[in-house]
């Protein structure tokens, strides 16, 4: 489904600020796999997701999705195959537009946008069903502006938006990190249900070791732009948060200064 070969991303190449965010990543993700990605700040987690989404072309290496080389495709072109939820709840939807307008935008992802009415009745019916399934009472607020919703509500809708149109890959970039604990739990649970229901191939960046093990079928750890750990199956099912933290510490060769990792 996803095939990454020798992916290297260097920012500000040829300047004193040159920074290699990813150096030679090889990664192959099978259809239906749910990979959680951990690593310290600056390890390259978000860069990996952004590279997959198409925010910048690889400095070198290859990105294949569905057997197609997408390395040079723009974000907009790639979005037919790649759905995405951002960390910032404000980034994933338009506050100035209504809930149903945001959903209509997402429903047309990957298709040519023509001159049919965006809010057609068939779409509205789908929106009501999908929102009702959230259990947040949002199905009665279709014509409310998105800006009126809380961060958690917006993130839940962002998840619905990511799955309204078909896609090959779902990218989640710390999508629960900016939420309060209760809502983070809700969105995490919603993520699990959605991914299982739709059998989506998913990559999820997270700061929380616990979430990395609880969600998904495989976990990889990045360090300084390389994959340093890749566990799945039985090995992963016996892994505890403490094990993961120990491995993490060993990789860094220093004491953990990131309390969040332990607490999360």
């Amino acid at each position: 489904m996803i095939r990454v070969e020798g992916l290297t991303v260097t920012f500000a190449r040829g300047t004193p600020l040159e920074k290699t965010a990813l150096s030679g990543i090889d990664l192959s993700v099978a259809a239906g796999e749910f990979v959680s990605i951990i690593g310290s700040n600056g390890a390259g987690k978000s860069t990996l997701l952004s590279a997959l989404a198409g925010d910048f072309p690889p400095t070198s290496g290859r990105i294949e999705i569905d057997g197609m080389d997408v390395g040079r495709q723009s974000t907009a072109r790639r979005s037919a195959r790649v759905a995405r939820v951002f960390q910032d709840p404000l980034a994933g939807s338009c506050g100035a537009l209504t809930i149903e307008e945001n959903l209509a935008l997402a429903a047309a992802r990957g298709r040519t946008r023509g001159f049919g009415t965006a809010l057609r009745p068939s779409r509205r019916a789908t929106f009501v069903n999908r929102l009702a399934a959230l259990g947040l009472g949002l199905e009665g607020r279709l014509s409310d502006r998105m800006a009126l919703l809380s961060g958690g509500q917006r993130q839940a809708i962002a998840l619905v938006m990511a799955t309204l149109a078909p896609s090959s890959v779902l990218l989640l970039d710390e999508h629960t990190a900016a939420l309060d604990p209760g809502m983070a739990e809700f969105v995490a649970d919603l993520t699990r249900r959605t991914v299982e229901e739709k059998g989506l191939t998913t990559l999820m960046v997270t700061h929380s070791m616990r979430q990395a093990l609880e969600l998904g079928t495989r976990t990889i750890m990045l360090h300084e732009g390389r994959i340093v750990l890749d566990v799945g199956g039985v090995e992963r099912s016996t892994l505890t948060v403490e094990d993961l933290v120990r491995m993490f510490r060993r990789q860094r060769g220093v004491d953990l200064d990131d309390d969040e990792l332990l607490i999360g």
Binding site: R77, S79, A91, S93, E101, A108, R113, F115
Partner: protein, 293 residues
Amino acid sequence: MSAIAFFGAVELGLVYAFVGLGVYLSFRILDFPDLTVDGSFPLGAAVSAVAIVGGVDPWLATLAAILAGACAGLVTAVLNVRFGILHLLASILTMIALFSINLRIMGRPNVPLLNQETIITPFYDLGMASYLVRPLFLAVLVALVVIALAWFLATDFGLAMRATGANQRMARAQGIPTALYIYVGMALSNGLAALAGSLFAQTNGFADVTSGVGTIVVGLAAVIVGETLFRSRHLWVLLIGVVAGSILYRIAIQLALSFDAIGLEPSDLNLATAVLVALALILPRLGKSGARA
């Protein structure tokens, strides 16, 4: 204020309503502060005046004006999107360039259209007073454009354009090639400004190279007065608000100028406009802190 002065103000308001709608597209929908309209308004006037004097069918001449304006908007959009020039600066560059271009098109600063066949001429024969024919004719045109815009902005394509202006990052993630939508939106916006210029020339009987000065402020005045008076979630109400704003603004100006006691002269128009727009921006803030501009 006499009836003729009143209908004259309404007429001018309706002409500039097209500018208001264009400015609404650039400023509000695309979030693209665009001063190009100061150049595309006289461009529309120049193109259609020269074409009409040259014997071209006035409707074709008007269409040519719209297309010329759209090209001007496209130039600004390309300077900004493709070459990364700040939007305000990009639009100022196009505007300045258009001043020379408009002089080239006309060959002189002013082209009179007296006794020429314009798109309004046939309607003068209907037997109504000419000071009524013009606003009625313009009102029909404005209504058609408002309906078309309201429809357009509610389509998948139009909605994508609104998303482009509201949140580009999200728009791209949803598969919207934002550059395309900025090009189309800016072309539409300046096409409307050029249409206004063309109608101005045809209703007033001349095209003048200096007629574009302050067009953007008049357009903004229409948008802001409209938004202040017509608060609504519905886009079509807001569009009607822009038209109403443009007319009310003209009537307010006409009133101010007609009161001898204030001592205003026609040359004080720009000052009065600036004060009015500033007031419309400040007053809502005084009522409620945290109001938006």
